[in-house]
């Protein structure tokens, strides 16, 4: 692959910047439903994408033709595309400096998921599928598993040459119960396919899907007769799996610098966290610290180097409640420094493309709500139980069901699969159809307690969409349960 990358660059004329990514990807997926294996699939993809910056304008072309003619034609196409845009360019793109890197990186996994037999995978999933069916009211029992292995080489005309191997996998289960017009879901360990990390088959084993299946089925059935979640202002504790998506939507996306600079205006939207607010905006309360950490072991957004050859980094996006940084790229850093000259001169390494055929964009790495250590009771970090106990009366919500946020990332509304009343410091009645709604800065400023490291989980989001053509990317979010005061709950009157 290194040889192929170098060969591609050999067709690039001198005097222009170019980089190439050569990628070999394997993926496998299994889905079971009601005891039947509905999907067992293996896919592979091999190709390369060339990015050329000529006269301050980008051109990009991708191909899977690995002949010399193919390399030459692809480079020529990327050049032609750049040249066709030059007459219409009003601002020239300049890249922030980056170190020349020659390196290798490999995800540390225990058991390569691709080395586990299909029989073993099916056995585990079908057992978990069966154990969810605890009642005739369970109308659907489902399981799913996915694994991904990517080998990629990055090479640039600046002399960088990097090879990486990234492996991730994950799985989950979901039971659906129905009675009359009511239909309720419960999933484990998370909704939208479960939990995903840059780890091996050991992650799937540790989840103990069969051991949790009965509870999942029972909770789905119990939701049918649970009370409707009340409406009003409540103190709200969000479980870590729901907070992961809250962080993703209301902290991760708005701190993508390409959005903030308007480059996603036509599709995914922009951001209320504009450059004039950098270092000033009271994004959250003083206990809110949000990091972007591509070095976090096991995180789904963990890698060695981004798709511009910049090394993985850990940066604070929000520090002690103040918005202090963005997820950046070489191009956007340079642009930001025109209005914010004091900003750091280098990219913090957030550029990734979903495949060889797509251009890299700024994507979330692992965007985390940092855990707290000594703010809980008696100088100890909060546990979920101690936080519930401290809350007195409120609502505890778990596991995302619906999510939506406006195109500047302000007005959001989330629904979860399940909630429980908190009464007199204890978890009480189960509620169904819980929803909450708010505005991003007000919401994060109402955060007054975050649980400690023992409750902290790095959740994986394998399906984040952005860009045109649409790119689906994988990111991670470390979160522990947290409390928010006086949140608008139960905004839906009719179900």
């Amino acid at each position: 692959m290194k040889r192929q990358a170098k060969k591609v660059l050999s067709f690039v004329p001198s005097g222009v910047y170019a980089d190439v990514r050569v990628i070999e990807r394997e993926a496998e997926g299994i889905a079971t439903k009601d005891g039947v294996v509905e999907a067992a699939e293996s896919s592979s993809s091999h190709g390369y994408g060339v990015r050329i910056l000529k006269d301050g304008v980008w051109g990009f072309a991708g191909s899977n033709d690995f002949s010399n003619d193919g390399y030459e034609r692809t480079v020529k196409r990327a050049l032609e595309i750049a040249e066709s845009s030059v007459p219409y360019a009003t601002v020239k793109t300049v890249l922030a400096p980056a170190k020349k890197v020659i390196a290798s990186y490999k995800t540390e996994v225990g058991k390569d998921p691709f080395s586990i037999s299909l029989e073993d995978k099916l056995e585990l999933l079908l057992e978990a599928d069966k154990k969810q069916r605890v009642s005739p009211k369970i109308v659907i029992s489902q399981t799913s598993y996915h694994a991904h292995k990517e080998k990629k080489v990055f090479a640039s005309t600046e002399g960088s040459l990097i090879d990486q191997e990234i492996i991730w996998c994950g799985a989950g289960i979901e039971a659906s119960a129905s009675m009359g017009n009511d239909f309720q879901n419960r999933s484990y360990p998370n909704s939208h396919g479960g939990q995903f990390q840059t780890r091996g088959w050991e992650l799937v084993r540790e989840m103990n899907l069969p051991g949790n299946a009965q509870r999942v089925g029972e909770e789905a059935v119990a939701l049918l007769t649970a009370e409707q979640c009340p409406s009003g202002e409540f103190d709200l504790i969000l479980d870590s799996n729901q907070l992961a998506l809250q962080v993703h939507e209301s902290a991760g996306h708005p701190t993508e610098l390409d959005r903030a600079l308007g480059y996603e205006a036509s599709y995914a939207g922009t951001s209320f966290m504009t450059p004039d607010k950098l270092g000033k905006l009271a994004y959250g309360s003083k206990i809110v610290n949000i990091t972007a950490d591509a070095t976090l072991p096991g995180g789904l957004g963990t890698f060695g180097y981004d798709d511009e050859g910049v090394s993985a980094q850990r940066v604070f996006l929000v520090k002690n409640g103040v918005f202090v940084d963005y997820l950046t790229s070489r191009e956007t850093v340079e642009e930001l420094r025109r209005t914010n000259p004091g900003y750091a001169p280098n990219s913090n390494g957030a550029m990734r493309a979903s495949s060889w055929s797509h251009i890299p964009l700024i994507r979330m790495t692992n965007v985390n709500l940092e855990p707290h250590f000594a703010e809980g009771s008696a100088g100890q970090a909060w546990s979920l139980d101690s936080l519930i106990n401290d809350t007195g009366n409120g609502i505890f919500m778990s596991t995302n069901k619906s999510w939506s946020i406006d195109d500047r990332r302000l007005n959001f509304q989330f629904g979860t699969e399940i909630a429980w009343e908190i009464k007199n410091g204890k978890r009480g009645r189960m509620f169904k159809n819980p929803t909450y709604q708010g505005m991003t800065p007000e919401f994060w400023n109402s955060c007054d307690a975050i649980c400690g490291k023992d409750e902290w989980t790095i959740w994986g989001t394998p399906n984040c969409g952005k860009g045109q053509p649409s790119q689906v990317m994988y990111a991670g979010h470390g979160t522990s349960p947290a409390r928010f005061r006086k949140v608008k709950v139960g905004v839906i009157k009719k179900w």
Binding site: K33, V36, A40, T90, G262, S402, Q413, Q437, P469, I492
Partner: protein, 445 residues
């Protein structure tokens, strides 16, 4: 472009490589060019040649699927080997009744033309120029592609279709308002960038200095783009036979019953040449016009071969690429149009809102087909049949069947609209005047 004969040879070669009882190969070739612009300049210009093949094999009722992205012999063999290996280790699927038999396919005219990079840049430049004249920032994309799809199976199915699509869309950004315009055409020569810009400019200018409006129930006129964003969710859960029989659809158990207003007739119209026709589904089964809702009654569900066999129904040609865990979904929805233009529909509203687009629409409750989302890029207050001023965007929580029971007027003009939920197809949507649309909160812009 590869052409039909080359793809047929590749399909035959692939099918000859397997000893499975039944086998199917789906081939896909795409040339895609996309020019994106933001802050009134082109910032991304890409070209992509891609191809893929997916092989589904069955040993009895044990099925395996594998895919790859090259048509070289060694890759074909590798993909077949992987599909066979999976199938041999698979459990039996008792509901699998075999792959479809060959049937005669409808003939449709294809337009297979892609806009060149210079042509895309010229159109984009025209939008930017118009916006700059009004001191407005332009963003958007011009996406132009040519796609070939072919399906073959061991029972003699051979189906091939090539088509082009060119889609220019823009969001223009003023000081405190935005406006959206778009056009989707088969032939890039029909693209009218000035019209796209004018439509968006009218929105951004008339939407200046938007005012807050109290959330609540309003009459709305949803433009065709907004209707399409809503109907993408209807397509997923409404007529899908899989979800119908899983009790997950709002219409479960209601086939033959009135489920929507009597003024609503919805068809799946895959052969309509005024849209983007497709003669067959992803199993090579011929597509046909299917009435789904007739004067408010649910008259047909959508099926692929698997669900038609499982539920003893006729296959309607709605298969998606295997393995499909979503169920058979219509990809070419169209309303029976009404008689009024958008302007005439606005005149019929005493007090309500004109909505250009919906944004970030997601299910709230699949069983009631309730969705939530925001308005975007042009929301206006209508009073006594006139647009009064722009309003800040609102969040809605709304049941789709309830909305389609509250339709006052259906627009006469059907527009071809694609969205990210329906990348595999294109709907033909009118504007709708709907009463009692439920807005629950607002935002700051």
């Amino acid at each position: 472009m590869m052409d039909e004969q080359k793809l047929k040879k590749i399909a035959q070669k692939t099918l000859a490589l397997t000893n499975a009882d039944e086998a199917e190969v789906v081939l896909f070739v795409a040339n895609r060019g996309l020019t994106r612009f933001a802050n009134s300049q082109i910032h991304q210009n890409v070209s992509l040649e891609d191809l893929g093949l997916s092989v589904r094999v069955a040993f009895g009722k044990r099925i395996g699927v594998a895919s790859g992205n090259s048509f070289q012999g060694v890759v074909l063999q590798n993909v077949v080997n992987r599909a066979e290996a999976i199938a041999r280790l698979q459990k039996e699927d008792p509901h699998f009744r075999g792959l479809p038999e060959a049937r005669k396919l409808p003939k449709i005219k294809s337009v297979v033309i892609q806009a060149a990079p210079q042509e895309r840049a010229q159109n984009v430049s025209a939008v930017i120029k118009k916006a700059k004249e009004k001191k407005i920032i332009a963003s958007g994309a011009y996406d132009s592609s040519v796609t070939e799809v072919a399906v073959a199976n061991s029972k003699g199915v051979w189906a091939y279709h090539a088509a082009g699509a060119s889609d220019l869309s823009t969001i223009l950004i003023g000081e405190n308002s935005t406006g959206f315009g778009s056009q989707l055409v088969k032939n890039p020569a029909d693209m009218r960038a000035d019209d796209v810009a004018d439509k968006a400019l009218a929105k951004v200018i008339s939407g200046q200095n938007p005012k807050d409006i109290e959330p609540g129930e309003y009459d709305v006129v949803l433009e065709s783009q907004a209707v399409n964003e809503m109907m993408s969710f209807f397509a997923w859960l409404g007529p899908n036979s899989r979800l119908y029989y899983e009790q997950a659809s709002p219409f479960s158990g209601k086939l033959g019953e009135k489920v929507l207003g009597e003024n609503i007739t919805i068809i799946d119209s895959p052969l309509d040449e005024s849209g983007f026709p497709m003669p067959f589904d992803f199993e090579g089964v011929p597509k046909q016009k299917t009435e789904i809702i007739k004067q408010g009654k649910l008259v047909n569900l959508t099926y692929d071969s698997y669900h038609a066999g499982r539920f003893n129904a006729k296959n309607t040609g709605h298969a998606l690429p295997a393995p499909n865990t979503s169920g058979p979904i219509p990809l070419h929805l169209a309303f029976e149009p009404g008689t009024k233009s958008l302007e005439e529909m606005i005149k019929g509203v005493k007090r309500g809102l004109l909505v250009t687009r919906l944004w970030y629409v997601r299910f709230l409750n699949p069983r009631s087909l309730s969705i939530t989302g925001m308005t975007r890029d042009g929301t206006f207050l209508i009073e006594n049949g006139e647009i009064v001023h722009g309003v800040r965007n609102l969040r809605f929580n709304q049941s789709i069947p309830e909305a389609l029971n509250n339709v006052v007027e259906i627009g006469r003009d059907l527009e071809s609209v694609g969205s990210f939920e329906t990348e595999l197809g294109t709907n033909r949507m009118p504007a709708l005047h709907i009463k009692n649309w439920n807005f629950t909160s607002g935002t700051q812009f």
